[in-house]
Subunit: 449 residues, 2 copies
């Protein structure tokens, strides 16, 4: 009898799981349930669609029709899974009950809504789905002043998109720097300065205390001051959606994500649950930098996890590894990228870091079109292992941060990186000695001080 695979969630994790399951087992019955009306798109692109660089139609990679015809995957949109029975191996959705042999829960995350007054007012938005994006797009037409709560990468990308559309934008952030969790202060500062030059106003050290208005929003109170606006976007981070995980009694870890094995199988009271797989924003991953978990919550991680979950759910064999969780954000002409631990996170985990830094260009100094490039690399003072890196550049930040991610994941020390790292060179595409290697040289010098 054909294996019944049920997947809950239609984001990067869920749809990759579905396709990977199909590639592993040609005869399985694969059904995807999703509350969303759109599938297989990247929420990360919403700021650019709003800015007009792409369209809601174009960002949808595949439709349910494609999945049905090309991959024999049954995608049910706009349907909520009401109940999951782990004993009986059934899922109840839309009033009907479906049996499964393997279940993949990739229900994603939810925008963290601060527990304050006014979050339900008209004119307050989240940024998670295409429907959220369409609502923002409609509301922007009549808005002049927008407050964005949260100076993480999504908040900053949105701020720039709204500014490009001629809006007056204020970003309120409870910490004292932009991209506070994952970027170091000295790397975040030029990004904030760049955005301020574009006319964006920042209110720092200012947790949002209330959203003001009668029926619809008229302002935000943050850090003790009031900021008038027609519209508020909550870019306040994402929490794991644990509804079904909790219903099944699966284990949740100390960071608030579900615990998984390297196979992406779930645990219940410390025992592996062989037929339930988890992937995407709702899981905790093992950190590549230190013993213990981390929350990746990145689209790229969701794809990797979905692949492993889908292959294993279909009876194949795949493993996930420890993660450094590299990220990149494009803020106008700037690309900022990072991997591993920021100095702040490292110190929170009790790791004393030493950092090296270098500046140069993405091309040979004399070749036209090169952009400034700054690379910072941090190592554990004791083990001398590289625990994190960050980059600001005008181009080619992604490849470079993936490169430094390999150093973090493979446990390379600063000394060994300096000995072993090599860079390709051609004047229109790099400096003869890449800035990352110069940063490692600076790092080794400081480690030896």
């Amino acid at each position: 009898m054909a294996r019944e695979i049920i997947i809950i969630g239609s984001g990067a994790a869920g749809m990759t799981a579905a396709s990977s399951a199909r590639a592993t087992d040609a005869s399985a019955r694969i059904t995807v349930f999703t509350e969303d009306s759109d599938i297989a798109y990247s929420p990360c692109v919403i700021p650019w669609v709003l800015e007009g660089m792409s369209s809601w139609e174009d960002i949808v990679m595949h439709t349910p029709g494609f999945y049905r015809e090309e991959r024999d995957i049954d995608v049910r949109t706009g349907i909520r899974v009401e109940a999951v029975d782990g004993e009986g191996r059934t899922v109840t959705a839309g009033g009907e009950t479906y049996r499964y042999d393997a279940l993949v829960i990739a229900a994603g995350g939810r925008v963290f809504v601060p527990p304050i007054q006014g979050v339900g007012l008209e004119g307050v938005f989240q940024v998670r789905t295409i429907n959220d994006g369409r609502r923002i797009e409609a509301a922007l037409k009549d808005a002049r002043k927008v407050v964005i709560a949260g100076a993480g990468v999504i908040g900053l990308e949105l701020a720039l998109a709204f500014t490009a559309l001629g809006k007056e934008v204020t970003v309120v952030e409870m910490m004292d720097q932009v991209i506070p969790r994952i970027a170091d202060r000295d790397m975040a500062a030029p990004v904030q300065a760049y955005l301020e030059e574009k006319g964006i106003r920042f209110v720092m050290n200012a947790p949002v205390q209330a959203i003001l208005g009668e029926d619809r929003v008229t302002g935000v109170r943050a850090g003790g001051a009031e900021h008038a606006c027609d519209m508020v976007v909550l870019a306040t981070g994402v929490r794991a959606n644990l509804d079904l995980v909790t219903q099944l009694g699966l284990d949740v870890g100390q960071l608030g994500g579900a615990v998984v094995a390297p196979t992406m199988q779930a645990y219940r009271r410390g025992r592996l649950v062989p037929d339930v797989f988890l992937a995407g924003d709702l899981v905790q991953s093992e950190s590549a930098v230190m013993p213990g978990p981390t929350m990746s919550q990145l689209g790229s991680s969701a794809v990797k996890e979905g692949r492993v979950a889908g292959i294993n759910a279909a009876g194949g064999k795949a493993l996930s590894g420890p993660v450094a969780s590299p990220w990149v954000s494009v803020i106008g002409d700037l690309q900022i990228a990072g991997t591993g631990l920021s100095q702040g996170l490292a110190s929170w985990y009790g790791i004393e870091t030493v950092s090296g830094k270098a500046a140069g260009s993405t091309r040979a100094r004399y070749y036209p079109g090169g952009t400034p490039l700054t690379v910072k690399i941090s190592a554990d003072r004791v083990s001398r292992r590289i625990v994190g890196a960050q980059i600001i550049a005008g181009e080619d930040a992604t490849g470079r941060i993936n490169w430094l991610t390999a150093a973090v994941v493979e446990g390379v020390t600063a000394d060994d990186f300096l000995v072993r790292a090599e860079n390709a060179y051609c004047p229109p595409a790099s400096m003869v000695q890449d800035v990352a290697i110069k940063a490692a040289e600076d790092l080794c010098r400081r480690l030896n001080q």
Copy 2:
């Protein structure tokens, strides 16, 4: 008494050695001898200067005056070292004799001139120094048809530069593909097709047999046919310049490069020579891919080697590591890059490879400005270790090839790469799953077949 450090050669290796020696020992006397009249420039940029993207003046990073004033380094240009006495620790140059405590030989390479008739005719050029470049620039004014001997990256970059200047360009190559030693046939083919579209003629399987003409060149005979031209450029590869190495009786390895320790110290009859250091195009390096040597002969390698040689010559401590020798070439709108072994080289070394390949884009599919991206990764069929990779893209090839170089150098298997490699994602800067990871997926599939 101050340490006397003499450095022979003023390219990337020599000048990096000089600066690194100074950073290590503030009081040493450091003297650089060079036959060249210009110093501290990258020969790799010559095609672009000829095309008009930069100038001979701009590509010189620092002048002898800068080195004297800022780094207290005495650079003697236009002077030939006539003799080196390893017993007496002296160098004779320009009729005078200088004592050294440490000697760094970074005398570089020489263009391989095929042993054929006519190489001495007027109108036959090499591409190695700024003076070579200036001579080519002058001759181009009156030239209509140019033959380039050799379809390596320098030959191709020159061919495109000459075409941009309105010349009729023919490239003759003795092998049956462009970039024959370091690129695989399937990755080289689109580059050749691109150049053919630009009007460049290729004559393949055609070793240059003679250069024709009385006083000045009138044509080239290659592969049995004659190709009329006003000008010939030999882009026929570089051989180590071993004049001084031989004079000192230092060991030369099976690939025709001088043998060095990880400290960049020379050997004589298998014994370390503690006071002679070698760096740059004249040395053999240890391969990161297989036991045994390789010839890197890259500007980026020269910088790394020069740094180690300079630090150690000044009494510091630094080591060089095994190399994968990543390279990148920009051919108009294309960037082609590689690392480790090509399939051809691997098979020459007795390594049976399996390759995976994937195509996609440098940005999210729907984001404007992305360019096609193809990544190929090859592994040893037995050990499953990644032994090489190649990339064709319109942007961001350098960071990606450095990333894959880390996998080669750290000895990562294809399976582990798939488990452990992560990529940063932002729609304007990458796909959610980087093409390199897709290529690794394809590779693992093929390894398991």
